[in-house]
């Protein structure tokens, strides 16, 4: 289990990051969590390829940001290209809120299209050889209660902020009861 974050890395740091990921993989970590927002998918992909660990043993999670809510298929293509690992194991909607596409990226209100339900329904169609499963990030009981009645496929994962000072005491059992795996970012 390993998360890989930090945006805007220089070339020196990219090398260091790649070495850290390879070290982690060679020491037993098997989950790599990244996101388009972090700007490092190409480094993550290179590290996984250079680690010597078979791709099939590693779970790669990535996420797309709000300006792709109108077209998650295109977001998946970008991650597939940048990671260059053949497929992603889990594709997450990074946050429930959307913006308009590039270059405007105007923040949309909750009821404006594309809503997270509309985006999720588009994500459901992406599941296949290049996108093994789909999930969400930063969803709450409220937003999950809004999503679940509308969807065919229950999110496999909800990745949320979780630590001793924000333990999500109600969200964790709620997700378990719905068959949604909780992952913690911090």
């Amino acid at each position: 289990m390993l998360t890989v974050t930090l945006g805007g890395l220089g070339t020196d740091n990219e090398k260091q990051l790649e070495e850290s990921i390879i070290y982690a993989l060679q020491n037993g970590y098997r989950l790599v969590d990244t996101a388009q927002y972090y700007g490092i998918e190409h480094v993550v992909g290179r590290a996984v390829r250079n680690s010597g660990i078979p791709r099939s043993e590693i779970t790669v999670i990535t996420k797309f940001w709000s300006h792709w809510h109108h077209d998650p298929a295109k977001a998946l293509d970008i991650s597939l290209r940048d990671l260059n690992l053949g497929y992603v194991d889990v594709l997450l909607m990074h946050w429930p809120f959307a913006t308009t596409p590039d270059p405007e990226r105007k923040h949309l209100r909750k009821d404006q299209s594309p809503t997270f339900v509309e985006t999720w329904l588009m994500m459901e169609k992406l599941i296949g050889p290049q996108c093994r499963t789909i999930g969400v990030s930063n969803f709450t009981q409220k937003t999950l209660n809004e999503l679940l009645p509308q969807c065919e496929i229950v999110p496999a994962v909800n990745q949320v902020e979780l630590h001793a000072f924000n333990p999500n005491p109600q969200l964790v059992p709620y997700c378990v009861s719905k068959g949604i795996h909780v992952m913690s970012w911090r």
Binding site: Y23, F97, F165
Partner: protein, 119 residues
């Protein structure tokens, strides 16, 4: 969960509650924090650039029921915060109001109308 953000006094690593638990298991406070989450059924994604901590963080310890309860209650007995609240770039003005990327905290499901935490 073990990482630190600039300007944040990370009590998860420095508070006596966590240091005491760590000492009794002979591990770091980072491992205590990760072990607590895993024992709750949560997958953790530690981040570190130090090979020492990367190697350490994959070795979890088993916390006692009392230790789990103490950790579960830390948000009441010590402090609580959302890291998300500290990420200023996520707060933007829309239609003259400060929003979290266009949404209210109520719409996100983080708070009720009175501002109480819901999560």
């Amino acid at each position: 969960m073990g990482g630190e953000r600039e300007g944040e006094a990370n009590l998860i690593h420095t508070h006596a509650l966590f240091k005491t638990i760590a000492a009794s298991h002979g591990c770091s406070t980072g491992v205590v924090s990760l072990s607590w989450a895993v024992q709750r059924g949560v997958t953790v994604i530690p981040k570190s650039s130090s090979t020492g901590r990367i190697a350490e963080n994959i070795k979890l310890v088993e916390l006692t029921r009392e230790e789990m309860t103490e950790m579960d209650n830390a948000h009441k007995t010590i402090t609580r915060y959302r890291v998300s609240d500290l990420i200023e770039e996520l707060y933007v003005e829309v239609d003259g109001k400060t929003t979290f990327q266009g949404w209210t905290l109520e719409e996100l499901g983080w708070n009720d109308k009175e501002g109480n935490w819901l999560n």
